[in-house]
């Protein structure tokens, strides 16, 4: 019990004294995750909207595949990206393995289906609601999509936050492709795993606090957003 309390106070001290190692890791985590969220959103949001308003062959299959991809085990994604980027792999010449870019690639693959799927559901529901109105007003295809994206912006933001939440807490894939190299590719989750195994508990705890705080903040925001959505304001 004393050990844990000791750990807590040490962790808080690291945080309030702006321990450079701690903050370096936090910064790397945010850099990798935020970049991945932006890239995944640029792919996933339009894809989700497009799937919601267009009828085409194999649409159901595409959506089923998308939903299945959400359940991809991150470790397997990590392995896949590792094979792609390793020296002998097809993209080996780029020399990206064990760099932040490699971690971003893995995270984009992991969260794009999630973001696309949430966006698809939200836009599909909104389209069902607006369909008659937009058809009646003779809105062009581009105008329809623009209207749905704009009026569905809260749900789309929720999709992005969900992607952020998944990516920031992910450990398996980025451990494989990033390697958790000190001062280079070490992020919150991989550092916690490493410091714990080294017995460096207070440092691990400090990182853990930050991770929990981030996760709580993201979930509170999602909750607030979807709450106002349900209350029919926007």
């Amino acid at each position: 019990m004393d050990g844990i309390l000791e750990g807590f106070s040490q962790a808080l001290k690291l945080i309030v004294t702006f321990d450079p190692d701690l903050y370096e890791i936090i910064a790397m985590s945010l850099r990798v995750t935020l970049t991945a969220v932006i890239v995944a959103s640029l792919i996933g949001l339009p894809l989700g909207a497009w799937l919601a308003v267009n009828r085409f062959r194999h649409r159901r299959l595409t959506i089923a595949v998308l939903n299945a991809l959400m359940g991809l085990p991150p470790v397997v994604v990590g392995l896949f990206v590792y094979l792609l980027l390793s020296r002998a792999g097809p993209l080996g010449v780029l020399g990206l393995l064990f760099t932040p870019t490699a971690m971003i690639i893995a995270q984009v693959i992991i969260i794009t289906p999630l973001i696309a799927s949430i966006a698809h559901q939200a836009i599909r529901d909104l389209w069902a609601e607006y369909h008659d109105l937009l058809i009646s007003m003779n809105a062009s295809r581009a105008q329809r999509i623009r209207t749905l994206l704009w009026d569905g912006r809260r749900a789309l933001l929720t999709a992005m936050l969900a992607g952020f939440g998944r990516a920031i807490g992910e450990v398996g894939a980025i451990m494989i492709v990033g390697g958790s190299i000190e001062h280079s590719t070490r992020v919150l989750t991989t550092a916690i795993a490493l410091e714990t195994s080294k017995g460096n508990l207070e440092f691990a705890l400090g990182l853990g606090f930050v991770l929990i705080a981030l996760a709580v903040a993201v979930n509170l925001t999602i909750h607030t957003l979807s709450g106002t959505e349900r209350a029919s304001t926007w």
Binding site: L126, E129, Y130, D132, L133, I135, S136, M137, N138, A139, Q143, T147, D151, G152, S232, T233, W234
Partner: protein, 249 residues
């Protein structure tokens, strides 16, 4: 650019009406909801569509507006079909509220037609005033009361000054005073050249507004008559019973 000016109604000089339906039918998965219907909506007058619940009023209006797929027969406007839609407007039985403020909701059709936002908002604010939503401009449309939503839907439809306006029970949730206000607005619109085709259950409203009644019964036009004649001497037993407020099965 041509499209930007469409709301001024300068696109095709020919009038939109008359509208003619011949043997028009609406089916869903083989089941006939409506028809066959033969009907002409002429250039003048106010047409009121009446009939019991489920008789096909909504289906008929949607069919004319092109929201319900035509399964058989023909529907012909006086101008090519592709240009007809943007000269019509429709007020739905269950108002569809966008996730926008009242003023932005009313301005929306103008913005679709390419009007700039500031001008569109100014016009929308005028219309909000006219339907009694002047104090609610910046409220989210979705939190309006049922009656306020219907007023918003009416303003949003009339702001384009359509040549024909379809209304599906637009006064269902309105109190007596609001109903009179809406009727005054409809009369105004009619004076300004908007042809009105409206479904209603309100016998008083039908008497006040109609020049022509379409009485639907079990998915067929049971009776079409000049309004005065319809109320004085309904031709069918079902219409007579309906007018007297008896239960028509």
């Amino acid at each position: 650019m041509g499209k930007a000016r469409a709301w001024e109604g300068q696109e095709d000089a020919r009038p939109l009406l008359p509208l003619e339906l011949h043997g028009a039918e609406a089916r869903v998965r083989g089941k006939r909801l409506l028809g066959p219907v033969d009907l002409t909506i002429g250039r003048t007058g106010t047409t009121i569509v009446m009939g019991p619940n489920g008789s096909g009023k909504t289906t008929l209006l949607r069919l004319m507006h092109g929201l319900q797929r035509l399964s058989a027969g023909t529907i012909r406007w006086n101008i090519p079909r592709a240009q007809a839609r943007e000269r019509q407007a429709y007020v739905f039985q269950a108002p569809i509220m966008m996730r926008r403020s009242v003023v932005d909701s009313i301005a929306y059709p103008l913005i679709l037609r390419g009007m700039n936002r500031r001008q569109a908002r100014a016009r929308a604010a005028d219309w909000a005033d006219r339907v009694g939503l002047g104090a609610a401009l910046h409220r989210p449309a979705q939190v309006l009361s049922g009656g306020e939503k219907q007023k918003l839907a009416l303003a949003r439809a009339l702001i384009l000054q359509p040549e024909i306006l379809f209304l599906d029970e637009p006064c269902a949730n309105l109190d007596g005073r609001a109903m009179r206000e809406i009727e005054a607005i409809l009369l105004d619109a009619r004076a300004g050249g908007t042809r009105i085709v409206m479904a209603t259950h309100d016998m008083g409203q039908a008497r006040r507004l109609a020049s022509e009644i379409i009485f639907l019964y079990a998915g067929r036009i049971h009776e079409t008559a000049e309004a005065g004649a319809f109320f004085a001497r309904p031709a069918t037993a079902e219409a007579a019973a309906f007018i007297n407020g008896e239960i028509v099965e």
